[in-house]
């Protein structure tokens, strides 16, 4: 993909780096280049993971296993889950937008550790290629993205080991990124910029990075033990050798439940950036937003065993984790109502960015309601490992995070490329995605409630029609990618010139040229103490602010 070269060649610092489109294939240290590398790399993996999802939905149009062999189906669903989580959503909501935006928001020229930043990105393509290539060697991992033993110990070892190595690399990338974000947000703020004046995305990334640093290493340790079980025939998680599979589940979910927040907290932050700009209103309830993010971080670390209610967990554990999980609905609900209150009475321009953000709010509240339902043990025991769970988490990660990724691309594309996207194609993309998504996943609630198990290629013929409905929705989602791709590629070359600040936004990344120069601002970085001061100082965004935050 080609982007306009932002800077004049006279800049001496540019001698250190390749220029033009070649820099997107280089070990560039520029946070903006690395951010776009994350974004484009992630999107390519999204297309691959999406093709795998389509293959799954094609298989499920008929109750018998006819499109793929059963073991191929298992490999496809494992790859789909792993790619979508570790190679698309986590790198894009954290790495792509985090790298691009955080240095702007704290008023810095780059991240705290630019070289570590580049290393973190360049761990991703080899890990992804390795993961996908395992399919062509002796078959990919077959045990789902959770890799529960003893299934992961007894299925073919080569694919499972390659899966473990690539997840370890991706976890390393994630940890390096998290350390970088923490250092950048806490240490690299320009003088005069207080923590409580930062744009909301900084808080979301700070919370996410804390989760990454605390929980990802536990997954890494667990996977190392699992690889010992596979390669060296130890018995940590092998019941026939006295091992304990439940310990794996505890350690795995200690990372993988926070992973949900690692995927969705940055999305919360991005929505909080996008809505005020397009509603011309300050973000409602800034302080409560900050505290609810931190509450989600704290609670998110102590709810993991709600994934294990059918794993023989003792009653006291079920009680504790049900209560803790239900509590998460409170800060999440605060955020939901704050977004609605931000929209309330605003001068909303219904462009693609806002449409996708509103789509996110609707989908996420639906996914949140089923989430609270799933936290209740009596209900969870009934629907555990059914399509109800599949519907629930796709409402969170697709209806939540992926909608926000699209919204953010529509919002920041003018900054990335200096050109505008076509709004009509964008709206078409939204309509197709929103209808396709809900058609695909809403029926799966019904399937799950009626007992259709997940991760199986065959099902009871009575579910055929609803599954075909779901597959039709998946087809619509697949088709919706085409106008988006055309829009993004065509607009990069032929779109109307955007100008520095097409949305009249107040956050610092818009107070520079589009695309920004290598050093982010010509001259001194602007000090933005009130990033959401809309409705008061829109005439001159660069006017000094009084520092008082008006959330009314």
């Amino acid at each position: 993909m080609i982007f306009a070269n932002p800077s004049s060649p006279e800049k001496t610092s540019e001698r250190l780096q390749p220029t033009g489109w070649l820099r997107y294939f280089s070990f560039s240290l520029d946070h903006k280049v690395i951010g776009l590398q994350y974004l484009i790399c992630g999107f390519i993996f999204y297309l691959i993971g999406g093709s795998l999802a389509s293959a799954i939905r094609v298989e499920l149009t008929s109750p018998i296993s006819d499109f793929m062999a059963r073991d191929v189906y298992n490999q496809v669903l494992t790859l789909h889950g792993t790619i979508m989580i570790f190679l698309w959503i986590v790198p894009v909501v954290n790495g792509a937008f985090g790298n691009y935006l955080i240095p702007f928001y704290v008023g810095a020229r780059d991240m705290a550790f630019p070289r570590l930043n580049a290393v973190a990105f360049w761990l991703i393509p080899p890990a992804g290629l390795m993961l996908i290539s395992s399919y062509f060697i002796t078959g990919a991992a077959e045990s789902g993205w959770t890799a529960y033993p003893p299934l992961s110990i007894t299925t073919p070892a080569t694919g499972q080991i390659i899966w473990i190595i690539s997840v370890l690399l991706l976890g390393g990338s994630s940890i390096f990124g998290g350390i970088n974000f923490i250092a950048t947000i806490l240490k690299l703020r320009q003088p005069g910029l207080k923590l409580m004046q930062l744009p909301m995305y900084c808080w979301a990334m700070l919370g996410t990075s804390i989760l990454v640093v605390l929980s990802t290493p536990v997954l890494a340790g667990t996977l190392i033990l699992l690889s010992f079980d596979i390669v060296a025939h130890t018995g940590f998680f092998n019941p026939s050798m006295g091992g304990n599979v439940i310990v794996y589940q505890h350690l795995f979910w200690f990372y993988s439940h926070p992973a949900v927040y690692i995927m969705v907290l940055p999305a919360f932050g991005l929505v909080s950036e996008i809505l005020p700009v397009h509603c011309r209103k300050p973000l409602f309830g800034y302080t409560t937003m900050v505290y609810s993010i931190m509450a989600i971080v704290g609670l998110g670390l102590v709810v993991w065993a709600h994934h294990m209610f059918t794993s023989g967990t003792p009653p006291w554990m079920r009680l504790f984790f049900t209560i803790a999980t239900s509590f998460i609905a409170v800060p999440t609900g605060i955020k939901f109502f704050n977004w609605v209150a931000t929209l309330w009475g605003g001068k909303i321009s219904l462009n693609s960015a806002v449409l996708f953000s509103c789509g996110f709010i609707i989908n996420f509240v639906l996914g949140g309601i089923t989430g609270v339902a799933l936290a209740q043990v009596p209900f969870d025991v009934h629907v555990h490992d059914t399509y109800f769970v599949v519907a629930h988490f796709h409402y969170i990660v697709y209806g939540g995070s992926v909608f926000v990724i699209f919204s953010s691309i529509y919002h920041w594309y003018p900054k990335f490329t200096g050109r505008m996207l076509n709004e009509n194609i964008g709206r078409l993309h939204f309509v197709l995605t929103f209808i396709g998504f809900n058609l695909c996943f809403a029926p799966q609630h019904w399937l799950g409630l009626n007992g259709m198990p997940r991760r199986v290629a065959e099902y009871d013929p009575q579910f055929t029609f609803v599954n075909q409905l779901s597959s039709a929705g998946a087809l619509l989602m697949a088709l919706s990618t085409l106008p988006f791709l055309w829009n993004v590629i065509n607009s990069a070359m032929n779109g109307p010139i955007a100008g520095d600040n097409p949305w009249r936004a107040l956050t610092p990344e818009w107070l520079t040229s589009s695309p920004p120069p290598v050093e982010n601002w010509e001259g001194k970085a602007p000090l933005v103490n009130e990033p959401y001061g809309y409705g008061r100082s829109t005439k001159n965004p660069k006017s000094p602010n009084d520092g008082e935050r008006d959330t009314k």
Binding site: P114, I179, T222, T234, F236, G242, N244, E519
Partner: protein, 200 residues
């Protein structure tokens, strides 16, 4: 760590790779050590859970010999003190003394590894014998890997702090400080490991 961004744009001035902010590398390393500590926390949690819920067969219960691991604990604790001394010497610009303390520290680290080896070869169980044995080797082995890396780091720091010619001086202390922080972390983990694995 360098950044590509110059402080002020002044085209007439020659701009090279310069830093435009304070040095946060120790902060970054500390954050990484928190992450590393969580890996150990996961291992410890797994070990304690195994111990609590998975009863071992009678032939798989061993009384561990304490003298060697106690000696190991002393070796590591003393090495933390000697590393601290090396840092003090560097801050006083005494490269000779700094190098001597570093060499002693590296020697103590290597002695720890050697003594760990002796213990491995004299233990009555192997890696795959049973759950307890596997966990024992996984925990001590993962820690031993950290000690090995730390000893290599100390030797590199020792070589680079030679005077003249070394890169580590009282003006550039970061490599020594980083290695020292890491080494203290590894020692601290060993103390927890010693208590959980040998004494509990």
């Amino acid at each position: 760590m360098t950044t590509i961004a110059p402080v002020e744009q002044s085209p007439e001035k020659e701009v090279t790779q310069i830093e435009d902010h304070a040095d946060f590398r120790l902060f970054g390393l500390a954050a990484f050590l928190v992450a590393d500590g969580m890996t150990f926390a996961g291992f410890f949690a797994a070990y304690l859970t195994f111990k609590a819920v998975n009863p071992l067969l009678p032939d798989a219960i061993y009384e561990l010999e304490l003298p060697l691991p106690t000696l190991n604990t002393v070796l590591l604790l003393v090495s933390s003190a000697t590393f601290h001394r090396a840092g003090q010497a560097l801050r006083k610009d005494n490269a000779m003394l700094c190098q001597r303390w570093l060499l002693i520290t590296a020697g103590l680290g290597l002695a720890f590894l050697a003594s760990q080896m002796v213990e491995y070869f004299t233990l009555p169980f192997g890696l795959t014998d049973n759950l307890y044995a596997s966990t024992f080797y996984a925990l001590t082995g993962f820690h031993g890997l950290h000690v090995t890396l730390g000893a290599l780091m100390i030797l590199i720091v020792w070589w680079q702090s030679r005077s003249p010619g070394g890169r580590i001086t009282s003006k550039n202390q970061f490599p020594l400080e980083a290695a020292e922080l890491y080494w203290h972390f590894v020692d601290g983990i060993w103390v927890i490991l010693f208590i959980i694995l040998y004494l509990l």
